[in-house]
């Protein structure tokens, strides 16, 4: 019996990828869980396993094709299965990351390029466009009109009704998804790419393609920056005592496979802080005019890799102790650097920490990791003279830079949160005193 095999779901927000390698041939006998396709998505290259065993009869994708979740990949004759069941393999697909080529970047940015013609002109006069032959979109006139009003191209909306009929809810859901997936929707963030001058006029240049990570980072940050009104507040925490504690326990952490960094401590402080200041652990739903408060505490930690910036997420920070956090942080950062990290491990965060102290600097203005509403940046701790008891004493001061979404968080809250974090670093009992 010939069975269709469609590309399975790959994790939240992943709708498609590029098939970089087809690992099977027609006539090949394959087993369940055997990898059949190498697929490059946002930031990872992963192998897609087969859920069926049998003989491959038809392969419907080629290397280099863009494939969408749910798309027919191959047809297998399952009646040809040999008795042996596949060995139990690890659940997550093994990731083998390769440098992404920029060839397919065109297709991925199809949503960003679907901007209305008005956005391309700077003058007031709109471009004249002859009416296109109306695409056959099964949507009632009121629904079509609504989509147009909110700037959605209705031909892109998947319809949930019979024969793909598009309802008002489908349009709203699509618009919401566009908003939260971090891609620019036509009408909201205006990403107007001005044409570049010919740089060769002034000297030699070298062109290098942007890798996938760079491309995704670029899109994500452009969206975050243009949609979120940022305010950054700066403060300093006295980590003299914390630093001596850290040194005491550093060796113990190393023995457990962790590296006890300031970040591990800060993770714990932040997790507690988010419970006292829940609006920093939330997201804004501007379609429903609601604030979504998260009751979980997953914190992303920015990691600099040779491919670019990746943000692995530590889950349930509030439920782990600092030693565990140190071990997990070290391990996940290592996996990010060695290209072994998975997409899932970089999703689901509700707050982000970015530590540039190892490199240097006194302060910076981090960009909020949309759809989160706040991000904490750490710079290099310095010995500074602090006025205590009528004299200057040398204290080790850690600069903190907190950027937040001013649509949800006001200046006073920002200051209160950051002050609370600094004081909790200095007096950890504050964390359990409920602020």
């Amino acid at each position: 019996m010939l069975t269709d095999y469609k590309l399975p779901g790959l994790g939240e927000n992943i709708k498609s990828g590029i098939a970089t390698k087809v690992m099977i041939t027609i006539g090949q006998v394959i087993k369940k869980d055997q990898p059949i396709l190498e697929l490059e998505t946002d930031k990872a290259v992963l192998e897609v396993p087969s859920t069926l065993s049998g003989v491959v009869k038809e392969i419907l994708v080629k290397a280099g094709n863009e494939v969408k979740v749910g798309q027919l990949i191959m047809k297998i004759d399952t009646s040809d299965v040999s008795g042996a069941t596949a060995k139990a393999k690890e659940e997550k697909p093994v990731t083998t990351i390769q440098a992404a080529s920029s060839k397919e970047s065109e297709k991925k940015s199809s949503l960003t390029s679907a901007s209305s013609p008005k956005e391309e002109t700077i003058k007031a006069e709109p471009k004249f466009e002859s009416p296109s032959t109306t695409k056959d979109v099964p949507a009632a006139p009121s629904v079509r009109r609504f989509a147009r009003e909110i700037g959605i191209d209705i031909s892109q909306v998947p319809g949930s009704g019979p024969a793909g009929r598009i309802s008002m809810e489908d349009v709203k859901a699509f618009a919401k998804q566009l908003n939260t997936s971090g891609r620019s929707s036509s009408g909201a963030a205006t990403i107007i790419a001005k044409p570049l001058p010919d740089f060769t006029k002034w000297g030699t240049i070298e062109r290098k393609p942007m890798n996938m990570v760079r491309k995704k980072t670029s899109e994500h940050l452009a969206y975050a920056w243009s949609n979120i009104p940022h305010v950054t507040q700066f403060d300093k925490a006295d980590i003299t005592e914390l630093e001596s504690l850290r040194k005491r326990f550093a060796k113990k952490a190393e023995a457990s496979g962790g590296k006890l960094t300031i970040t591990a401590f800060i993770l714990k402080v932040i997790a507690s802080g988010l419970k006292v200041f829940p609006q920093f652990n939330a997201s804004l739903d501007l379609f429903e005019n609601e604030v979504i408060y998260k009751k979980y505490y997953h914190i992303g930690v920015a990691v600099d890799t040779d491919r670019g910036l990746l943000v692995p997420v530590i889950r349930d920070v509030d439920k782990k102790n600092i030693m565990q956090l140190a071990v997990e942080l070290n391990e996940i950062a290592e996996r990010a650097r060695t290209k072994k990290i998975t997409i899932e491990e970089m999703q689901g965060g509700s707050f982000t920490i970015t530590n540039l102290g190892g490199i240097g600097g006194t302060a910076f203005t981090p960009i909020v990791n949309s759809p989160e509403v706040a991000i904490l940046g750490l710079s290099r701790s310095m010995m500074e003279p602090v006025y205590v008891n009528n004299e200057f004493v040398p204290r080790l001061m850690l600069p903190l830079s907190l950027s937040y979404d001013h649509r949800l968080i006001d200046g006073a809250d920002g200051a209160r949160f950051l002050r609370w974090v600094c004081e909790a670093i200095q007096q950890p009992f504050l964390m359990d005193l409920g602020g």
Binding site: S130, P131, S132, T134, A163
Partner: protein, 472 residues
């Protein structure tokens, strides 16, 4: 010379123009409406849709009174008082146009009786009915100047050569009349005059009557027309028209090239309509025309001159009043800053002959031409209880359906009242309905609307009143 200003000027007060002006006023825009007549209405009300339908209603009464003898009710042949008929028809027109005049005043729309030409993209010069000229500057304009009957080139001038306007004046009922053009205007007027007593002949260049309609629908009408008309000449051209003492001598050229002649008291030219895009001073604006003389417009009905919009017959096919009024409303909403576009999925067309024809959406003919895979299902009115009670089983309801999704792509109906039945088809197509939706919607019995439900049932091979099991 007076000089005034207005925000929005609508040029032409036909169904497109007055619908636009009224909506504009309702949205709070300051509007000026210009037309040659004393009241809004345009061709449709004064010399088109309305008087012709009034006339066709009378024609149907006469026709029905004759058929009544089949049921044992006999009327003596109708005596036609043409003057009284003309007066009644005019009263209908006056009532409607007068009513529009009232609505114009209630909405505080400035109405100017006159003819407008553009001086530039912001200024009009209006020659008013009292002879004075007034200049108007405007921010936005909507052109709704409509269309006029197309004429055969080099036509001799004669009072015996009519167009639709003259035919609707009902100045006389000719003994014999030749209708040039087998389209809806010619056939409607031909059938009307037949009931009034004229002997009608029709000549058409193409192989069938009503070229835009599907053949199976047109054939039902053609069959009846054949019994009523003296002759129907298809694939035949008119090569010469010569006025003489009795009327017009017409020379025909058939498919085989042979020429024949005949004399008729009147010849009605009904070969189509042309957009009124000339003599408006458009060359002084940025407005561009298409090859056929229509005004080039975008989805918001805006022309290549951003201040000027165009709607209705002057803006393109189909030249239908309801298309004009919807375009007019779209243009006004666009001017008011709403994000809209004119994007109907189905514009219905109705031929008010007896039997009526009506269709909307994709026709079977178009589907074939565009190579679109469709399934066509039909329901013959011979199986309709209501049609039998009306003694009018000369009817057919058909649907064009997407075989993969079940979606209704087109609906076509021929039969009495088809024009009043087609709106359900339009709604089905606009809402993206599937055949199951129509099958499962309860239609009242016994009505002609049931044929729509039964056609949908037929798609599944389950139509109650005909046996046509689906081949699996």
């Amino acid at each position: 010379m007076l000089s005034s200003q207005t925000y929005l000027v609508v040029i032409g007060a036909g169904p497109g123009g007055y619908a636009a002006a009224f909506l504009a006023a309702d949205l709070g825009l300051e509007v000026t409406l210009i037309d040659k007549e004393t009241n809004p209405g345009g061709i449709c009300l004064y010399r088109g849709c309305i008087p012709s339908k009034a006339l066709l209603h009378v024609a149907k009464i006469i026709s029905d009174s004759k058929s009544a003898q089949n049921f044992g009710v006999e009327f003596s042949p109708a005596k036609i008082d043409a003057a009284k008929l003309r007066l009644w028809k005019e009263s209908v027109v006056n009532k409607l146009t007068g009513g529009l005049g009232q609505l114009t005043k209630q909405r505080k729309i400035r109405y100017i009786q006159g003819e407008a030409v553009f001086l530039n993209s912001n200024t009009l010069s209006i020659k008013k009915s009292d002879g004075a000229t007034e200049e108007f500057t405007f921010q936005k304009a909507i052109l709704a100047t409509g269309s006029r009957p197309a004429m055969i080139p080099n036509l001799p001038s004669s009072p015996h050569i009519w167009d639709s306007t003259s035919a609707l004046r009902l100045e006389e009922i000719p003994q014999t009349m030749l209708i040039v053009g087998g389209g809806y205007i010619g056939l409607e007027l031909g059938l009307a005059y037949h009931e009034l007593g004229s002997k009608i002949s029709v000549v058409e260049m193409l192989p069938g009557l009503l070229p835009g309609a599907d053949r199976d629908l047109a054939d039902v009408l053609a069959r009846r027309a054949k019994t009523l008309f003296d002759q129907i000449l298809l694939e035949t051209k008119v090569v010469k028209l010569t006025p003489n003492s009795n009327g017009i001598s017409v020379t025909f050229q058939g498919k085989d090239g042979k020429e024949t002649s005949a004399t008729f008291h009147k010849v009605l030219i009904a070969i189509g309509r042309k957009p009124n895009s000339e003599n408006l001073g458009l060359e002084k604006t940025k407005v561009q025309l298409t090859g056929r003389g229509f005004i080039k417009i975008n989805a918001q009905r805006q022309t290549t001159d951003p201040n000027i919009y165009a709607i209705g017959d002057v803006a393109g096919d189909p030249m239908l009043a309801h298309k004009a009024s919807h375009e007019g409303r779209t243009a006004v909403e666009a001017i008011a800053g709403h994000k809209v576009a004119f994007e109907p999925k189905a514009i219905p067309a109705v031929v008010f002959t007896d039997p009526e024809l009506a269709w909307c959406g994709l026709t079977e003919t178009e589907a074939l031409k565009q190579n679109i895979e469709v399934q066509v299902v039909k329901f013959p009115w011979a199986a309709s209880g209501r049609a039998l009670t009306l003694d009018r089983t000369d009817g057919l309801t058909k649907m064009i359906i997407d075989p993969k999704t079940e979606r209704i792509l087109g609906v076509g109906i021929v039969g009495v009242g088809a024009g009043d039945l087609i709106a359900e088809g339009v709604l089905a197509i606009e809402m993206g309905a599937v055949a199951s939706d129509l099958k499962l919607s309860i239609h009242p019995h016994p009505t002609l609307s049931e044929t729509i439900m039964e056609t949908a049932e037929n798609f599944f091979g389950q139509s109650t009143h005909i046996y046509r099991p689906k081949k699996s």
